[in-house]
Symmetry: C2
Subunit: 123 residues, 2 copies
């Protein structure tokens, strides 16, 4: 599901039991330092904005951020809100499942609204 899109970036929801967004560059680059400086700054600003709104809205135990791209070498940033009660904490979301899910979160639609509002102010 596309949450936000403009000429520079596209933000997509990852299907998960935790709040998890992926920020892609609109144009494809393999590595972060392959991006033009201006685009990379925009990516960082998106990443920081997603982190801030996630913290405000979900009050997570910790934010996790990752840029891999081993399967699809197209620069993208994963931003995840992690909770002690989530199935993988304290391991990464790519780690070993630790326990059954015991997580109750507020409705995501208001989170997306707040995020899109903030991003629309920035861009």
């Amino acid at each position: 599901m596309v949450i936000f899109k403009n000429e520079f970036v596209e933000i997509i929801k990852e299907e998960s039991h935790i709040p998890w967004l992926k920020i892609f560059t609109a144009q494809r680059y393999k590595e972060l330092t392959d991006c033009p400086d201006d685009l990379r700054q925009k990516l960082y600003l998106c990443m920081e904005t997603v982190e801030k709104i996630m913290i405000e809205y979900y009050n997570p135990t910790k934010i996790n951020i990752a840029m891999f791209g081993n399967y699809v070498p197209h620069v993208h940033i994963h931003v995840m809100a992690r909770f002690e009660e989530d199935g993988f904490f304290p391991e990464s979301m790519w780690g070993k499942k630790q326990k059954e899910l015991n997580l109750s979160l507020p409705d995501e639609s208001s989170f997306f609204e707040k995020l899109v509002k903030k991003l629309s102010e920035i861009f």
Copy 2:
């Protein structure tokens, strides 16, 4: 092993069969957006410099970057040079081991020298 240290950041080698560095802030912050803007810019610059020198020196298949801190909530950035021949590729280094190691890499001491030289020019 500490590779580089100044008043803002500390870069530490992670023991691994791949080139893997961790960039810590000297002062402790929980989340990336808790860092003062100026420090966060320095962190990004370090991350980009490590990425660039890793690419130049090791010619990896892909750079992987991660910021978790679930065990120790102190902002730090993992930068890893990944290779098709490494034990976990294309999974993340926190994923399931895929195969036995079949990786031959150049000596790391020259890599550290190049990196420290570049960082000393920047800071």
